[in-house]
């Protein structure tokens, strides 16, 4: 079978315009664009794309329905395995997953699977007033608690609800969505899209209690006492890392978590209509090379920074951020300082940041990650004048739950120890998945882990009943 359509580019806001607002950068497909893109898929008998998807979306099937113009059918197929398609279509690293295994990608460009998934989800939201009704199931009557309403928790809860469990999600913040609401900016993932997907999970019968911190407001032991028969921990990796260099507590140094939480969850870009402020400054340096660093630096521009820098100790090749996000940042005028590592944050007498002292790096032998290790070039220190520094160096799991739950074991670096195939922790009935287990990773991997744990919890509770 030969390909008929083509991989249509998704329209985007022009860089000069978009850095003045927080609206979404990628504007979405029209039905015509989607159908043209869908016709490009050759409907492989043995599709590699599905294997590349952590939640095994039936990709050729839903694309075929789009090509036929039956978007409602396409939507139903996607939602069979993915409760959060509007999110995945926007933030999944498709180039590392489904699209990486697309046979067309071997010689030319792969099918734009992510864009099609987004199209289907957005079409459903606009055109199908009543959500796709979930298949009726007989409630088991059993209660399961899910801790955290990020991608892992929402997926696990949605799947368990579909299997007939009474699921309650406990969320520490005042809004559901976890990293989807506090971390990923509006211009990449509109909060209305997250709210819509959260509503879908609620429509499956899941109850979400915000403002409850498991480990403080209630403990895992309390949950079992209250009749929950299993617990899923999707508590994410919320602990920020700092470099441990002098000057990090100066006024004007933020963790990426604080920078993004103020901006996204608290909407500091709307201050004073919204009450939470942020100090942007004229020149902002973001330290790090991952997706969070890209989000932070692109927020800086939209918050009004005139100069925005990425400071990264390795070279462009080693940057963990998605190529698409790096390109977006380039287009928007972000200045990349590669092979550069901060050694000190410089401040004035009043204690405010005035500059970032850095040292030049060069690449040496490969390290444990397989990437060439950056080594400092002696005597190459220099100062970049900045008003604000944002540390986007990765995050580690929050210890509140592990510290307050007897029987839970963690790795030295803080991640929960689990059985890989099931997500079972070192305590019976307690499962975990997502960044709480892996350290900061991707939305879709967290969703995959939530799914795995949901099946494992179902098996566990079924067997327990049989015992």
């Amino acid at each position: 079978m030969t390909s008929k359509g083509s991989r249509v580019e998704m329209p985007r806001q022009a860089p000069k315009e978009r850095i003045k607002n927080f609206y979404e950068v990628a504007l979405g497909y029209t039905p015509e664009m989607a159908m043209e893109t869908a016709r490009y898929c050759i409907q492989c008998k043995k599709p590699g794309c599905v294997k590349g998807c952590p939640v095994n979306v039936k990709i050729p099937e839903f694309i075929e329905k789009i090509a036929e113009g039956d978007f409602a059918a396409a939507s139903r197929i996607v939602k069979e395995t993915n409760s959060l398609p509007a999110i995945c279509g926007r933030v999944c690293p498709q180039e590392e997953q489904c699209e990486k295994y697309c046979v067309l990608g071997k010689k030319g460009e792969p099918v734009a699977i992510g864009r099609l998934e987004r199209f289907v989800a957005d079409w459903e939201a606009e055109n199908m007033k009543i959500d796709t009704p979930p298949e009726p199931v007989h409630p088991t009557g059993k209660k399961v608690a899910v801790v955290g309403s990020g991608p892992a928790g929402l997926t696990c809860a949605g799947d368990l609800a579909k299997m007939g469990y009474r699921v309650t999600i406990f969320e520490a913040l005042h809004a559901a969505g976890g990293v989807l609401v506090y971390g990923i900016p509006e211009f990449r993932l509109p909060k209305s899209v997250v709210a819509r997907e959260v509503e879908y999970v609620k429509s499956l019968g899941v109850e979400i209690l915000t403002n409850v911190i498991v480990g403080r407001t209630i403990t895992v032991d309390d949950l079992f006492e209250e009749g929950y028969e299993a617990v899923f921990l999707g508590t994410g990796a919320g602990l920020p890392k700092f470099m441990g260099i002098p000057g990090e507590n100066l006024n004007g140094v933020y963790s990426a978590n604080e920078w993004l939480t103020r901006t996204n969850l608290m909407k500091a870009y709307l201050f004073p209509e919204y009450d939470t402020p942020i100090k942007t400054g004229r020149r902002v340096a973001v330290v790090g090379g991952g997706n969070v660093a890209m989000d932070a630096v692109r927020c800086a521009l939209r918050l009004g920074a005139e100069e925005a820098y990425i400071i990264y100790r390795r070279s462009e090749q080693e940057m963990p951020a998605r190529a698409e996000e790096v390109e977006n940042a380039h287009e928007e005028g972000v200045v990349f300082k590669f092979l550069t590592n901060p050694v000190e944050v410089i401040g004035n007498e009043a204690g405010w940041v005035t500059g970032l002292k850095c040292i030049k790096m060069e690449l040496g032998e490969p390290d444990a990650s397989g990437r060439r290790r950056p080594v400092p070039v002696q005597g190459s220190e220099f100062v970049i004048p900045v008003d604000t520094v944002v540390m986007a160096l990765g995050t580690s799991p929050n210890p509140i739950v592990s510290q307050t739950t007897p029987g839970l074991r963690i790795h030295d670096w803080g991640g929960l120890i689990v059985e890989e195939q099931t997500g079972l922790t070192t305590r019976e009935g307690v499962y975990a998945g997502g960044d709480a287990v892996t350290g900061s990773a991707t939305v879709i991997l967290a969703m995959g882990a939530g799914k795995t744990a949901a099946s494992a919890i179902h098996r566990y509770l079924t067997e327990k009943q049989g015992r």
């Binding site: 913040l173 005042h174 407001t217 700092f242 006024n251 204690g351």
Partner: protein, 280 residues
């Protein structure tokens, strides 16, 4: 949820509210705090839990109207509900079970001192208290403090009640005349706590303070509340809020508490403006 069950106006700018929050009340211990938000566009602010009643499922909060959120809170009455409230946050205070302890509260800081004084008093500790305020009409919880203390000293900045001066002056007088304390707990505005700590430092009396830095999430996620204690960075929300006052880097803490002074003023002006109170 979080319905206000009772309200007392303690001074023209200080209010006490009793809030329905059963899950928080069940776990709360002296020294812990909550974070709350009044409106959809509101800021999250930390407030110390001044008291709790596990059976009634209520917590008591005392606050001074200084910024926009506390002003909004100040307008709420019995029957109104606080939009979001989460806790208890932070580590409970490690209170001594015996001996003699000096409890010092300045301004609205008397409120967070009270549950600690009460808990120690109930355990049999000899509690001596100093409470202070700018003037007599701003003193709060005097009756409550007297009920759990063997002696209560009063200080006002303007001399309208008790000692004419700061609570730190009274600490100095007590220590100078040879009064012995196993520990001192000082809570209040940051400059007051710093002054207390400097007074007790030469005497080597362990002095605990309850830090109240800027926070966002309160769960260790953002690091806004970081401070240096013994040269190490701590997050007040999860490591505190009680710290050994002699180990705190006060210059840094004071400087960090002022990061958003300008914006706090803008927020209040904006609120006044929206309500037609714009200055010409």
């Amino acid at each position: 949820m979080f319905t206000i069950e009772a309200k007392r106006v303690l001074t023209p700018v200080t209010k006490l509210i009793v809030v329905q929050a059963p899950m928080v009340a069940r776990k709360a211990r002296p020294g812990q705090f909550v974070i709350l938000r009044c409106t959809e566009s509101g800021e999250r602010i930390p407030l110390t839990i001044a008291d709790y009643d596990r059976e009634k499922g209520t917590i008591t909060l005392v606050y001074q109207e200084v910024g926009k959120t506390t002003r909004l809170l100040g307008r709420m009455g019995v029957g109104d509900a606080i939009l979001d409230l989460v806790g208890p946050l932070g580590m409970p205070a490690e209170l001594p079970r015996e001996g003699r302890v000096l409890c010092v509260g300045g301004g609205v800081g008397v409120a967070p001192v009270y549950p600690k004084a009460k808990a120690m008093h109930e355990m049999g500790v000899d509690v001596v208290s100093i409470i202070g305020a700018r003037s007599a009409d701003l003193l709060i919880l005097e009756e409550e403090m007297r009920a759990v203390s063997t002696a209560v000293y009063v200080a006002t900045d303007d001399g309208s009640r008790g000692h004419h001066g700061f609570v730190s002056d009274v600490i100095k007088q007590l220590l100078e005349r040879g009064e012995q304390f196993d520990e001192i707990i000082a809570v209040g505005p940051i400059l007051m706590m710093r002054a207390c700590v400097e007074v007790t430092r030469p005497y080597g009396v362990k002095t605990w303070v309850s830090m109240n830095p800027i926070m966002v999430d309160g769960t260790g996620m953002c690091g806004a509340c970081r401070l240096s204690v013994d040269g190490k960075t701590k997050f007040c929300c999860v490591d505190g809020p009680m710290f050994d006052g002699h180990a705190v880097d006060w210059a840094e803490a004071v400087r960090r508490s002022r990061i958003y002074l300008e914006e706090e003023k803008i927020a209040v002006d904006h609120m006044n403006c929206a309500e037609g109170g714009c200055r010409p």
